[in-house]
């Protein structure tokens, strides 16, 4: 469809785009032949908490939550798509704001017709996890400034967002509705600064390295997304590679989540609920590090659109790390850390105002009991955190 010369031109233009500020004009020109598209997003948030820090020094008011991204999709051949997203995300001590690649993959279509669309994605691919994970950085596709943290821990956002491997997808649409199945085999990313503390409760000298893992999701949509149902399951495996003289043995971390997702959409309102069961297993480290526990997370969320430009949100979000120790009493006795690190219940009230098609501002208020999704890195020492805290957040975002 496209000869080599124009394909090369498109590529040089894509590179040029990343270095220039005239992106929109060039995109417009190439949009015409649909073989290349560039999109981007930017958001700046402000957070203020009564106690405990979230994304920066929020007790004093934090501007340390910024998201900036640009992505390109190039279709050199009708059956081949190349996708790339650069992002710079600053999120207190949990993300450093440096430029990195969120995803880069080749999508080879095996079949595309009215009813069926299937293929293989190779490279760093977004993880099909629940309803919101794949577009978790774009304020417009999130229901709120902060995603329900019990299911979408932001402290380990890179680990959750994408992984390096291969993913098969199959979309089927018929009279009964649309089905989307995705299954990926990959190695998880372990570069999040808070990833080690999340596993060992502190930083250790060795390194965590992703090993063979898999994730699958089945989505069903009735009447063009009026009803959406989803099931996700995964087996995530990470090895610990000790440093010389490290007291910790070369063990492994295993994580097995199951998520059930439900959504109902009307013109004025949407209801969403997700329930997750998460099993965590630390293995081969020897006592007392070897542990095995199962917890649950869920949220129920309602959105009401007052006008096409204004919407309000109400959500209850609950996290329990260990079903056998829901209040964290045993945890406190064993680790000396506060019991409220093992749960979090969060009431959120939010407002969204779309000033224009691609510009929005948001405000939300969280009333939280528990510190289960709080970053340990941002709150040293953990013993000084409070169980009950409130968080107020504002965000301004654009996309194109």
């Amino acid at each position: 469809m496209m000869n080599k010369n124009t394909a090369f031109k498109s590529l040089t233009n894509l590179v040029f785009l990343c270095w220039s500020n005239t992106g929109l004009c060039v995109e417009y020109q190439y949009d015409r032949n649909d073989s290349i598209q560039i999109h981007g997003f930017a958001a700046q948030s402000f957070l203020k908490s009564t106690t405990n820090d979230f994304f920066g020094d929020s007790e004093d008011g934090s501007w340390d939550f910024r998201e900036l991204g640009i992505n390109g999709l190039w279709r050199p051949l009708p059956r081949l798509q190349l996708s790339l997203q650069f992002v710079a995300r600053k999120a207190g001590k949990t993300d450093d704001g440096k430029l990195r690649v969120d995803y880069i993959f080749a999508d080879c279509k095996l079949f595309n017709s009215n009813a069926v669309n299937s293929g293989l994605r190779l490279g760093r691919v977004t993880n099909p996890y629940g309803f919101y994970n794949e577009t978790r950085d774009i304020v417009a596709t999130r229901p709120s400034i902060l995603l329900p943290q019990s299911v979408y821990f932001d402290a380990n956002r890179n680990f959750a967002l994408s992984s390096n491997g291969v993913q098969f997808y199959h979309e089927h649409s018929g009279k009964s509705g649309d089905y989307l199945f995705q299954f990926g085999v990959f190695e998880p990313r372990t570069e999040d600064p808070d990833f080690e503390p999340a596993i060992f409760l502190q930083n250790e000298p060795g390194k965590l390295e992703g090993t063979t893992s898999w994730m699958g999701r089945l989505l069903y949509e009735y009447d063009f997304g009026r009803v959406r149902l989803g099931l996700t399951t995964a087996s995530i495996n990470v090895d610990y590679d000790p440093a010389p003289g490290d007291p910790i043995r070369p063990g492994a971390f295993h994580f097995h989540p199951y998520i059930a997702s439900v959504q109902y959409n009307r013109e004025r309102w949407s209801l969403t609920a997700e329930y997750a069961r998460r099993s965590t297993h630390l293995d081969r480290f020897g006592a007392p590090r070897d542990i095995d526990f199962t917890g649950n997370s869920y949220f129920i969320q309602g959105i009401y659109r007052l006008t096409p430009r204004w919407e309000v949100l109400l959500r209850y979000d609950s996290l329990t790390w260990n079903d056998d120790d829901p209040e964290g009493r045993d945890f406190e006795a064993q680790t000396g850390l506060p019991n409220h690190y093992r749960f979090a219940r969060d009431w959120t009230f939010g407002v969204r105002w779309d000033l224009a098609q691609n510009v929005m501002v948001r405000a939300e208020w969280h009333r939280v009991s528990g510190t289960g999704w709080l970053s340990l890195l941002e709150n040293p020492p953990a013993t000084e955190t409070s169980q009950r805290w409130n968080l107020l957040a504002f965000s301004a975002a654009i996309k194109f």
């Binding site: 015409r32 995803y103 999508d107 669309n117 596709t141 018929g174 659109r305 096409p308």
Partner: protein, 178 residues
Amino acid sequence: MKNRLGNRHHNRHHGRRRKTPASASGGRTRRDYGKLFAQTAALLWLCYSANLLNALPAEPTIRVIANPHVEIDALSKTSLRSIFGMRNRTWPKGDFIRVFVLEDKNPTHILFTKQILRTFPYNLRRIWDRRIYSGTGQSPTVVDSEEEMRRQVSLTDNAIGYLSNKWVSDDVKVLDLK
């Protein structure tokens, strides 16, 4: 349409009120409402019998249009949703579909999403955003007027779009909906 009639009545009512100070001080009585209702009914009947209703700006009919060279003449609702949801990207013979839409707040776009696709603009936008920002798909090309829509669809190979009836011309092919 209803607003128009309603407004007209409102004005008439005010005009009458000015002439009769009694009703201005006491507000509308039940008899006033009765009269208003009778007048409305009479006017509606008049309009209808004179076939004037058609001349009022009723909801326009939305047509799905394509480039005249597009190989097909009709589409089912399922395939239309597949195409505008950016899932099916090719015409039956394998040519890449170029999808054109108007801005989210455009009245014709709102009617198209509601009447034809049987969904809402916010849902369509969400479907596109999910594809764009996960790197798995593209978004349609947005044009800013129906005139531009007609021009682009008539000039672009393999293009599909939509127009309100009055903008349709011979430059584009109207697709039947199965």
